[in-house]
Subunit: 323 residues, 2 copies
């Protein structure tokens, strides 16, 4: 099967790392063949605005308007609004760019008009000239909540941005029973569009996003995990770790705090039953005894060329199984 015959490739993605690989896939696949299902567990309200950080990162990246240094936010953006907020005595802890505000204002207004987050994202993506389909994992808002030793329960953005993922995640122990420190404030339901994309997928790729904080919320949106466990098409994950270090963000720190081995091997184990193969850095090892295909690759995406190169290697590899 040649790349240009793919009709539907589904990528699950969180923020920056996920967006980069999704962009690589979009550049190689036929226009419209890529669907990115994006984590919305870190969505939140701030200054009354409906903010969807991962959706925006994927959208800005695929639209070619993302800030190339940060990976999130818009290129050439400013923070005049935040400066004025500080003048009003606000601590302005969440980095909202001025251009970025247009996205949040339109989304907030449209959601208030009972337009779904799926439709809102479609409208914004279309205006940015994006041909891939970017889907929120769910149209109902189910925040990811993280229990920390220092502050107790935090919403994702408090943990991630306000406290720069420095708090230690800690299970909640009730009468000797300990629960996961990562919780969901309700049960997310996948959208019909997301279900249909997974059911009709030729290939499924878990982008190099945080497995616990970005991919798990998507898998836990009903019935995502079931659909992937019972799929008939290849599914691979790309490790977010290189040499036991996270490329970006709290993945390594979090795994350690959760008592996991911090390695791509551990990521492979984490996704057991869900994936047929894993893409890891050339230097990393995965247990040979597992019935799991392994693609060693240069998984660090420094620039746009790297995105397309890595996406190409992954697509070629997966394609080779179905020939």
């Amino acid at each position: 099967m040649a790349l240009d015959t793919y009709k539907s490739v589904v990528a699950l993605a969180g923020g920056v790392g996920g967006a980069k690989l999704a962009d690589g896939l979009a550049r190689l696949l036929p226009p419209g063949a890529l669907t990115v299902i994006v984590n919305t567990g870190d969505d939140f309200r701030h200054y009354g605005l409906a903010i969807s950080p991962d959706l925006d990162t994927v959208m800005y990246t695929l639209g070619g308007v993302a800030n190339i240094v940060n990976g999130w936010g818009l290129e050439g953006d400013s923070q005049q609004m935040l400066g004025m907020m500080r003048q009003y005595g606000d601590d302005a802890w969440f980095g909202l760019g001025d251009k970025d505000l247009a996205t949040h204002l339109l989304r907030t207004q449209w959601l208030e008009e009972d337009i779904t987050l799926t439709e809102v994202t479609q409208r914004l993506s279309k205006a940015l000239g994006i041909q891939s389909r970017i889907l929120p994992m769910s149209d109902n808002s189910i925040p990811t909540v993280i229990n920390t030793a220092e502050y107790g329960e935090l919403t994702f953005q408090e943990y991630f941005v306000r406290y720069r993922w420095q708090p230690t995640v800690a299970p909640i122990v009730i009468r000797g029973e300990s629960t996961s420190p990562i919780m969901y404030d309700g049960e997310a339901i996948m959208t019909d569009e997301g279900v249909s994309a997974l059911q009709n997928a030729d290939l499924i790729v878990f982008c190099p996003s945080n497995p616990m904080l970005s991919i798990d919320p998507i898998l836990n949106a009903e019935p995502c995990r079931d659909l992937i466990e019972n799929r008939s098409v290849p599914c691979v994950a790309v490790s977010p770790l290189i040499g036991g270090q996270a490329v970006k963000g709290p993945a390594a720190k979090l795994m350690k705090e959760l008592g996991m081995e911090v390695s791509s091997n551990s990521i492979a184990h984490y996704y057991e039953g869900l994936i047929d193969g894993i893409v890891v850095d050339r230097a990393d090892q995965v247990d040979a005894d597992r019935a799991l295909k392994v693609l060693p690759a240069d998984i660090l995406m420094r620039n746009v060329e790297d995105r397309a190169r890595l996406a190409g290697e992954i697509l070629e590899w997966m394609t080779s199984w179905t020939r």
Copy 2:
């Protein structure tokens, strides 16, 4: 009575011209002695934000942060958000600055928390170091609606900004009965703070704002007109016209369309029963037969010095009556 013995001077103001004179008064009176009651008939929602253009113009001007060229908006502001709105296909007809957005975001959020517009304005003013009291004419939102020949009924900002006050105002005629083209979408009720300020005023000044579109909505907030008609203290108006021309905005055009003579004399007539005196440009005439005091002055405020000079002349003049 010396200026520094005034405890309470009340100014009624609309936007730019009103804000300038209010600033002059604030500079001369003892700290906290000035209360500005501001038109909120042109408040509206845009992108879901609660926008109070006149309140903001007065607040930014008294806070020393207004854009000195426009008279409205913040000094050093940018329009990155609007640029992005255009990228999303929005026509971005209302000039919202990026810094300015902080004001609207906080106001919107606080109003949603059932904090009154009076309290919201107090919080914002305090953060900007303003010692004068800026009061919305009402805490209930009663939009001014303008009937036009070209577009029918328009809200104030549509008329004023979107169509740059170019449409012709036209009375609505029903079975031979013609109504005023300027209407209110309900009955505005003055706040307790506004009523109390008027009841305890030493002096009352109508700033050089549009009588029909800025001062009338304040007078029509119950029981403002009654309180002023039955006052026991001096009340003067400052004409917004010089030589039959408006310094800024649609006052002259509007008066013509309403069939009024376009002159300061006509303004004096318009405020009959409400004022003891009028401040007009040196070149302008007011009918000598009226029992109305007239102060000819240089009423054009080109800079901050002009504001204080004009305010000083008005205060000295009014003070001379009560000596």
